[in-house]
Symmetry: C2
Subunit: 310 residues, 2 copies
């Protein structure tokens, strides 16, 4: 029986100032989805591994199967598909887990049916999965999970996704405290409005962030890595966030903040040589605050996106 | 008696998506300020021309004298200065008139005392003038009036001003309807908060605007030239704004919107060849809506900033 397996990486969204619009792909971890052609039409979830039995098998509620169905629908295909989802990403981590599963499923099913969908179509399909998984349809995880790199989502529907340049050496450190935060709850905390003066500061920083990437200006980049809108309201959800950020900066990071809605915390470094010291300091601060065993990932900023692996 | 005369240009601020943070200089019109060394300390306004007698002579209330005093204070100078202000800019036009007078005064006085202030210091000084002139201290007019070019104000205090690249050929058309709008009133209409979803759209557009400039991507630039925050609330202040925008786009402009708080309306064009048709269409639409005799300016985007002229 024909099958295709795709991998999609973890992603850091928001990236300081870019709430709901900036995101980049990590090298690892990631999720794998195997799509198998079956006779009976529709999409079913055959197996899920790595989730401790917590993710739903109902096709209409699982981010991977919803994305897979969207790919079939857009291609006008009645192919039956059975999915096996292997979560490499921790749940509710702020690392784009639902986006990774949706992206891997979309890419796998598109290959299975020889669909030839563009990245933008795959993003739109994965976004449908993201909507059931994360409770909202922002594309700052799905777009980098599909495209790789560091992207700016100018518009989610239809996707208008800009691949931003990444200065050589720019390296991400991600620490995942031993905690979970549900994205939907972290969004509810934000409310519907923001102070105009905070919004102005935020878009000044987003513009400067993009300029700093184009000009490889790390000093400016460091000044832009601040979220005055979402992170202040979410900070209380992550014990020790202030200490983790201080530890990162003191060890040489350009900036540091929540990855997505947390609890994962990312830092950017000018080079991979700086990253191990930053990672050690952040891990220590996180362990002190939360206990448990924080996981740490080091990765080039803007690693490759979803791809066929088998 | 020693004297120095400086010119500072009109500026288009906001530039679609960049409320309070983006601005560029026009070639003309502009204001001139002559600073004359006098024996008695402090700053006085000797004469004001081109304002129909409407601008204040009190040194603490005039944007030019406040900026001049700030330059003297920062330099620790007790030089007496008499200013003559020649308004080339229409009052309350949305073209940065108070910023132009403040910028010209700051540059003239700095030269008069051999102050050697950096552009950032001159911006900070002119901003003090802008505060009394416009009722708020955003630097998106003052910064391009001083620096020229197309700038992003990442922070106003202290100034963190980024000179953005301008694609060859990018040309501005500005139409000034026969109306006045007081900046302070146009700000009050905005309120203190904004919808989070509108703010997200705005910073996505600001980031994409900067990217489009770096990559000379006019199609993307056109998609970013939209203000979902300030302009919708101010549109009613400018009769025919919708028609002027439609006329600009139908004649080949990339985008069109309020200049600052209006009533001036700017459009961006890919080349100076496109500009005359856009200008004619905008002027006609404005005259139909408002009557009177709209003024029209065509200028390269990002012309030079304030400079000594005598």
């Amino acid at each position: 029986m024909r099958s295709v397996t795709a991998f999609a990486p973890a992603t850091v969204s928001n990236v300081g100032c870019g709430f709901d619009v900036l995101g980049f792909a990590l090298e690892s971890p990631g999720d794998e989805v195997m799509a198998r052609a079956v006779d009976r039409g529709g999409v079913v979830i055959e197996d899920i591994a790595g989730d401790d039995g917590r993710l739903p098998f109902e096709p209409g509620r699982n981010t991977a199967s919803v994305a897979a169905q969207a790919v079939l629908d857009r291609a006008g295909s009645r192919q039956g598909v059975a999915l096996t989802v292997r979560k490499g990403l921790p749940l509710a981590s702020g690392l784009g887990g639902s986006a990774a599963s949706a992206a891997a499923a979309a890419v796998a099913v598109n290959a299975l049916i020889g669909g030839g969908a563009t990245p933008e179509v795959l993003i739109a399909c994965a976004l449908e999965g993201e909507r059931v998984g994360a409770g909202s349809a922002h594309a700052d995880n799905v777009a980098p999970a599909i495209c790789g790199g560091l992207v700016l989502v100018r518009a989610a529907n239809p996707p208008d996704v800009i691949r931003l340049p990444v200065p050589t050496g720019l390296t991400a450190v991600v620490v995942h405290p031993d905690l979970e935060i549900e994205t939907a709850a972290a969004r509810a905390i934000l409310g519907d409005t923001v102070l105009l003066r905070d919004a102005v500061q935020q878009w000044a920083n987003v513009g400067a962030f993009v300029d700093a990437l184009h000009r490889r200006d790390f000093a400016l980049l460091a000044r832009t890595l601040e979220d005055v809108v979402a992170e202040p309201r979410r900070a209380a959800l992550v014990p020790g966030l202030g200490e983790i950020k201080k530890a990162a900066l003191a060890s040489g990071a350009l900036g540091c903040g929540l990855s997505g809605s947390g609890p994962a915390v990312f830092a950017l470094c000018t080079s991979p040589n700086v990253a191990p010291a930053v990672a050690a300091a952040m891990r220590q601060a996180s362990a002190l605050a939360t206990g448990g065993s924080p996981q740490v990932y080091i990765s080039p900023v803007g690693s490759p996106g979803a791809r066929i692996v088998a």
